[in-house]
Symmetry: C2
Subunit: 199 residues, 2 copies
DNA sequence: CGGCGTCTTGGACGATCGACCAACTATGAT
DNA sequence: ATCATAGTTGGTCGATCGTCCAAGACGCCG
């Protein structure tokens, strides 16, 4: 193998691990599967990571910080509040249908973290981040549309997050896209009914 | 060990497996952990089950048919539509806070089934069942309250299922009960706004 | 009593896993 | 050129897993 800095190899292994997760699931993401995906000898692994847990932890933080959540970060653009909400929900859903595996991995990692001693904080932070992103999104949308939410922002963000997680989870099981889109449309209308024009 | 019919031993093993799942998670529910929980020798396992997968499949169908979903089956009782909806959502949430592990196991099993070759149908059926229950609940509530839903029942059921799954998943991570209850209250009000009095 | 299913049991097998290590090699500073 | 540092490699260890089996024990029916 050509010589490479341990830092760089770490990054490649993290990327390889994520690909394996998407393809085969978190449980089957073994050290051997990862180095095989990255086309590296097995010995490399514990030279770059102290343990398998350390790798998974790294993947979780990457996903949390800038991965799947990015697809939700799309309240930008033109139009009134209704159009922007509808477009945001549509864009989110586009992301799910485009790469279901990535979202599936997100949930698997959450449950993995919840079961792993000392990893509960990772799951906690994961959802704290999601809620924060949604909160910020809703706040920006309200400001640029000149409205005020009639529901406390943390509650509204949690509601939005719940609907998105819920429809995704259900769709991963039954792949009913049509009804899912209808649910998102319904949710969009509901959100609009919770906006009050500023004085 | 006292002599016992294989059928009966199966049931005890299924129950033991469920307890292990709730306590340690699906991944750590090994054949040895199960027989240990049931206080049976290891050899019993493959006398009662052809494989570990067969046991997990049995647990999934039990949960799907009458387990966790039962907690949602509570639209019964007195009062107007608003009171009944609020009480139903509250009862559901009571169930989650009372035994979070059981709900957590439900999600873990869903993801397990989605990854297991040939088990996708189990996850499919699981959610088909949930949606059916919610649909029936909403239909009964509408009839006894003399209202009609202004949204197609399958869509409304999926929406309700999504919110419940979503808030549960989020709460399992951050344990924020207060905001979760607010989300459920908000959802209840939303549902009421989707009811039209019959002519 | 004798036989025949049904059930019980402890041990063993091969596979796979995370982790570890010793030997080797390349690189760059002195 | 020397040497310390950093990186590479293949093999191996012990643990754990699902699965299987042979030998025995029980209970029922003839």
């Amino acid at each position: 193998m050509s010589r490479m800095a341990a830092k760089d190899r770490r990054e490649e292994l993290i990327a390889a691990a994520f690909r394996v997760m998407v393809r085969d699931g978190v449980v089957k993401t073994t050290t051997r599967a990862v180095v095989n995906e990255a086309k590296m000898p097995l010995g490399v692994f514990h030279y770059c990571f102290n343990s398998r847990e350390e790798l998974l932890q790294e993947v979780i933080t990457r996903i949390t910080d800038s991965g799947v959540a990015k697809a939700r970060n799309v309240f930008e653009g033109e139009g009134d509040l209704g159009a922007r909400i509808a477009r945001s929900l549509y864009t989110f859903w586009e992301g799910v249908e485009l790469s279901p595996g990535e979202h599936q991995v997100g949930y698997e990692l959450t449950h993995y973290a919840l079961r792993q001693e000392g990893f509960e904080d990772l799951a906690r932070r994961q959802y704290a981040h999601y809620l924060e992103v949604h909160e910020q999104l809703l706040a920006e949308a309200a400001e640029s549309a000149g409205i005020t939410w009639t529901v406390p922002l943390p509650v509204l963000a949690r509601y939005l997050n719940a609907v998105l997680d819920g429809v995704t989870l259900c769709w991963l099981a039954d792949r009913n896209s049509e009804n899912t889109r209808e649910v998102l449309r319904l949710t969009g209308e509901h959100l609009m009914s919770l906006a009050a024009k500023d004085a």
